[in-house]
């Protein structure tokens, strides 16, 4: 995948790319001969939301802030679980059936990899400055509400 911005830690790699994420061969990016489990999650654009049809989602991103938040998130996950972790998110247009986010984690045993992937997607949704504009079949557009980053 051609990332336009990325960052790496000792056990993690995160970044952003334009357009949909590839979902093939992610296991190789987190593989480790000491790890017996690899878990993956693909967030895929679906054709409906809140009762309305959708044909695509246009993702808006603050690249520097998003990369910083993704890096902090990956570091937090890797401090909680003994995993190797990959986190990639899209910017721009992603059509129905295409992946907008991919997460992969490997660990010695399955529970850590599965928990790391689950926690990563949960935390991404509330911590990373990314916004969704849903596009309908007749090109109608609406921004989706989300989680406030405001702390005061």
């Amino acid at each position: 995948m051609k990332l336009f911005i990325e960052n790496r830690g000792t056990h993690w790699h995160c970044g952003l790319l334009d357009g949909p994420c590839q979902t093939q061969d992610l296991d190789a990016l987190v593989s480790d001969p000491a790890h017996g489990a690899i878990a993956q999650f693909f967030g895929v654009v679906r054709n409906h939301n809140e009762g309305l049809e959708a044909s695509a989602v246009d993702y808006d991103v603050h690249p520097e802030l998003a990369l910083k938040a993704m890096s902090e998130l990956c570091a937090d996950i890797c401090s909680e679980y003994p995993v190797r972790l990959l986190l990639i998110h899209s910017r721009g247009l992603v059509r129905v059936g295409e992946a907008s986010v991919v997460i992969a984690a490997s660990s010695a045993h399955r529970k850590d990899a599965l928990s790391a992937v689950s926690d990563t997607i949960d935390q991404l949704k509330v911590r990373v400055p990314i916004w969704k504009k849903e596009i309908g079949p007749d090109d109608e557009q609406r921004w989706l509400d989300g989680y406030s980053l405001r702390k005061d």
């Binding site: 603050h62 802030l65 907008s100 991404l124 990373v128 969704k132 405001r150 005061d152």
Partner: protein, 83 residues
Amino acid sequence: MTQIHVHCLGVFREIGDGFDVDVPSNSVDAIRGAVAEHLLRLGRADLNDVLKRSVFAEGDELLKDHMVVESSAVSVLPPVAGG
């Protein structure tokens, strides 16, 4: 008065990629107030509820309302919805 450029993200892009506001001080609180007035002038008071749940950032730093902006540009970040 100081002029601050506000870079729009998410739903705020409906009013453009950015705009300038004049503020009496460089506090985030003052900028938030000026943005609210700007939305009213544009006839987009409907975005004020989102503004109340938004956070401002300078570069890659999230700002609290009591903080002071050092540069002449900030970003306004509505509630996030990645994934």
